[in-house]
């Protein structure tokens, strides 16, 4: 049995209220991400799946207070790192793709410039070299005319194109060992969703990435992921291989979730 790349170990916490009390939202969340695997974290909105993932990078909302637990990455507890040590993890070792890529990119810089800035931050080199790498990365995520696109601003990109650029930034420019994908296809057209998922799976295989896909779209999970973590109301309900979860779910909540997703089109 190989060791997990990332272990979330009984992470608990809640949001600080105006009265100084803490409203609990995560209750001893534990799951492992095995190297080279694509693990899905599924659950309804508000189940704590995104919050847990954001906590890995230390970019959770400021009102969140951890009350217990650890996040082990390569044997180190990320929650014990100081700001400078955390910066050496962010982007370089663990990177993230956000949901609304157009809003996630800075509106006042060209897409190429933002990618080149991150490239230089992690790999150094000249501005020209970094821009060449950015254009190359845009080409690899199959954005047509990458040289021209690199000179455009996020608002000139469609949602799907922006998400491709975001994936290029997080996976190819950063070259992390762990890639978190926070609802990467939510809000995109259904046909584009499929293209983006194909791209994500392909890149993860090519780069040997460990990936954590946060989603509420079980259809996507069945087709692409190796393992599944089911979350509900701040707890992990069930974990297992994709086959296990889809063919022999042990928990009633998992069964309900599966049943619900087959009733209508996944949103």
């Amino acid at each position: 049995m190989t060791a997990a790349l990332l272990s979330i170990d009984r992470l608990s916490g809640g949001f600080l209220g105006a009265d100084g009390g803490i409203a609990p939202v995560l209750d001893a969340v534990s799951y492992d991400l095995m190297p080279g695997q694509l693990t899905a974290v599924v659950g309804e909105t508000g189940s704590g799946k995104s919050l847990t993932a954001l906590s890995v990078l230390g970019i959770q909302p400021p009102a969140f207070r951890r009350t217990g637990g650890r996040i082990l990455f390569g044997g180190r507890d990320l929650l014990s790192l100081d700001a400078a040590a955390m910066r050496t993890i962010r982007g370089a070792r663990i990177s993230i793709v956000f949901q609304d890529a157009r809003a996630a990119m800075n509106p006042v810089f060209t897409v190429g410039r933002q990618m080149a800035d991150v490239f230089r931050l992690h790999h150094g080199g000249s501005a020209r070299h970094a821009m060449d790498r950015a254009i190359e990365a845009l080409g690899r995520v199959r954005i047509p005319e990458p040289e021209r696109r690199a000179r455009q601003y996020p608002h000139e990109f469609s949602g799907g194109m922006a998400q491709r650029a975001m994936i290029a930034l997080a996976a190819l420019i950063c070259q992390p060992s762990l890639l978190i994908l926070d609802e990467p296809t939510t809000g995109l057209d259904v046909t584009i969703q499929a293209d983006i998922m194909t791209l994500i799976v392909e890149l993860c295989r090519d780069q040997g990435l460990t990936a954590c896909l946060i989603t509420h779209d079980l259809g996507v999970v069945a087709e692409t992921c190796d393992a599944v973590v089911v979350m509900h109301a701040g707890r992990v309900v069930e974990t297992g291989s994709t086959e296990q979860i889809f063919t022999a779910p042990a928990e009633p909540y998992t069964r309900r979730l599966l049943a619900a997703s087959q009733l209508g089109e996944p949103v």
């Binding site: 990078l57 970019i59 700001a83 910066r87 050496t88 993890i89 962010r90 982007g91 370089a92 990177s95 993230i96 956000f98 609304d100 809003a103 996630a104 990119m105 800075n106 509106p107 006042v108 810089f109 060209t110 800035d117 991150v118 931050l121 992690h122 601003y153 608002h155 930034l169 997080a170 950063c174």
Partner: protein, 338 residues
């Protein structure tokens, strides 16, 4: 046509109606409210015949609308008329006094921006902690206290009490001849004339009025910067920049501030229009021979042509200030460029 050129042409087109509008209002308002200047220029024992002669000399004998047409037609030829009190063309008077106002304005505005923007950023990134409370407290004071009062306090502290800086007697100490005019900016002309001693004198004269202007300018700039930064820092792209491993400084200044700048630039445009229009009270307190003082004297002495000339200058200035603001908008935000 490129959007920038179109913008500039549109603004230039608007200059004329705006200037005509304000000068018309000023023309009639001054004559209604400021009273008849004849008395100011006539000896107390003047006969009616002498008064009538003075009125003709001052151009006040014709009906109002004839005076107005004379004035506008002269204006269209670039003639702003003669000042009653200086007996010189208004254009020359304005030209003489412009550099004093500009030099003070640039210095004060620079102080205000260089201190106000970083203070606003510091407050925003330390939101609801002591640096934020400190900046908000100090700037609230800066907004609430009148500029002339701050000026008087600074004079009292640094001139009267400590005597570190010279008194409020203008751009150079009394009895010192200015260097010949090259740019009109004392800090440049003294150096150009090879007179570092004069440069230092001019700097000390400038210190207090510029500090007053800077302090009162930085307060609104810091507050708007803070509010705008707080909003920008909550954006998705800030979270992305952090997640990609950028340092706090890069996240705040490169990613946050650039997005937070639009309201700050708008404010600075308005403040600049105000400052370069001559900080009237400030110039009076510091004996600063600028346009604000000129305008005040013009009102005082019912010097119609001088007053109208100043108003035209001020309105052109505002049009220019907001043109610069719009151009900066286009440079800052690519979404406005298209």
């Amino acid at each position: 046509m490129p959007p920038l050129l179109r913008l500039i042409l549109r603004r230039v087109f608007w200059v004329l109606p705006v200037a005509l509008g304000v000068v018309t209002i000023t023309f009639f308002a001054a004559r209604v409210f400021a009273g008849d200047p004849t008395e100011l220029y006539a000896p107390p024992d003047a006969t009616d015949a002498l008064r009538a002669l003075i009125r003709i000399r001052l151009g006040l004998a014709d009906p109002l609308w004839v005076q107005y047409i004379h004035y506008i037609s002269a204006l269209l030829r670039g003639d702003l008329g003669m000042s009653f009190s200086t007996n010189r063309p208004v254009l020359i008077d304005l030209w003489d006094r412009l550099p004093a106002t500009l030099e003070l304005g640039f210095t004060g505005l620079t102080i205000g921006i260089l201190l106000g923007v970083p203070l606003g950023v510091i407050a925003a990134v330390n939101r609801e902690r002591w640096p934020d409370f400190l900046v908000r407290g100090v700037t609230l004071g800066g907004m609430a206290l009148p500029q002339f009062w701050i000026g008087l306090v600074l004079i009292w502290v640094f001139f009267v009490t400590l005597n570190w800086l010279p008194g409020p007697v203008g751009r150079l100490p009394v009895g010192i001849d200015p260097p010949s005019r090259l740019t009109g900016f004392m800090l440049i002309d003294t150096l150009a004339a090879g007179r570092p001693d004069l440069w230092f004198m001019a700097l000390k004269q400038l210190a207090l009025p510029a500090a007053t202007l800077g302090l009162t300018t930085l307060a609104p700039i810091a507050r708007v910067t803070r509010a705008s930064m707080v909003e920008a820092l909550q954006s998705d792209y800030i979270r992305t920049a952090t997640a990609m491993g950028h340092t706090n400084r890069t996240v705040w200044f490169r990613h946050g501030l650039r997005n937070a700048l639009l309201p700050v630039v708008t404010l600075i445009g308005g403040v600049a229009g105000h400052i370069f229009g001559g900080a009237v009270l400030l110039e009076s307190i510091f004996g600063w021979p600028g346009l604000g003082q000129y305008a005040l004297q013009a009102i005082d002495s019912s010097d119609f042509a001088a007053l109208q000339g100043f108003v035209i200058y001020a309105s052109l200035l505002y049009v220019l200030a907001f043109l610069v603001v719009d151009i900066l908008y286009m440079l800052i935000d690519p979404r406005i460029r298209q």
